[in-house]
Amino acid sequence: MAKYPESPKFSHALISGRDFVTRISKFGGQPAGTFNEQRNRQITFPIGTFTLLYKNLLVADRNTVYAWWRNYHGAYGDSTGVNFHFFDQALRGWYGEYMGRGTGNALTLDFPGKTLTNDATLIVYEDDVAQVKDTDFTFVSGGGTEGADQATWIVGHYPAVGAMITCSFNGYLRIKARFAEDGWSEEVPTVNGAGVLVYNFQTKLQELQW
């Protein structure tokens, strides 16, 4: 899986929505939040869309993004339908992100991010139980796919088969994504102060489950 072009930079990444889904029943015409309310959680991890705004790109940079969109056939994926990874451009805190499942054997998993701050904010969980860094696992900076950081479990501390491995961290989030829509649209290019045509457009990425 390739990663979405990190150059050109988008001017702003708008997380327009990262949602859980909860089914809520209300009875007796009472308002939400009353005793009669029942809630049922529908999904395990929130799913979001990232809208990337590109401003004043030179034609070569615009072509890079367009070529990427064309190569991924809109919402479909590459020639075999495979999607891509996207790294956020802002360092932020992320909590309860999916890493993988235990196998009962030796295990190395990529974090869903890179350039993670290797301090107390970096926590790995096995079935919601925090693991101890350098006792249960070791942190590997940048050893994973497309530069993702990794965790390698230490002998005798391998996660049980089927165990849910999640993590919290500060860093650049990595998501599995596709284009949210099939279409490509852009504004009519304008001329900047140097008399060069510049391009403005946006792309919208749909986060996918790992």
């Binding site: 005793f35 029942q38 959680r41 395990t44 969980y125 079935d127 919601d128 165990a163 489950q209």
Partner: protein, 229 residues
Amino acid sequence: MRSLPAEIFYPIGGTGEILKEATFQRHLFKLVVGMVTYYWTDCDQPIWFDGKYWTPYGIEFSDLSYSLDQSVASCQLTIPNVNNAFSDLSLSVDLRNKAFTIYRVWLTNYLGVIGCTDERDLPVVFDGVIDSLPNSDREIARVNLVSFGVAGGVTTPRRTIDAACSWIRIGGFKGPYCTYAGAGAWCDGSKARCVELKNELFFGGWEEIATLQNQNIYWCRKQKFWGKK
């Protein structure tokens, strides 16, 4: 249908009611096609349960229909079919009369199944066979299920004296009451199938029931037709 796992009961009152106002509740689906068993879930991540992963598959079901009258318990599923995987499956093998079970599970935050460690412990939402596959298209496959009882001509679920084996619904095939542990992969609850599996000692139905149907009631050794010839 089994009772709910103790963990989701009201922990203080112990009344057995679901008083917890929020649950993480999903379903497990099992389709048995010959020697192949498919394990699916409508959760967004695989659920590790009973020694295997139950794979996410966007199945929805609706129109569960139970009744005390003579109608057959039924249920309709919708299954994603954009990649035609279900079409391929249904074209490669006759899915009719294949066992399909829907279980309800209550999940922890990390997708552990609360209160159950074994498939036989799971609350059963529907236990039956595929009846028909109507109106499937390029996006959605539809599957109609009917109760196992349709083979025995009985209505389920209800507690009654059935000609078909009750253990199918109570503990399930190969369950603690069925006790069968051989290589057979399916059972329709009939006495004939039980004989095939050499498990008739544990057959959980009352086969004489069928012979009593539509019989006249009389109190003598021999039925007499007073005033009739």
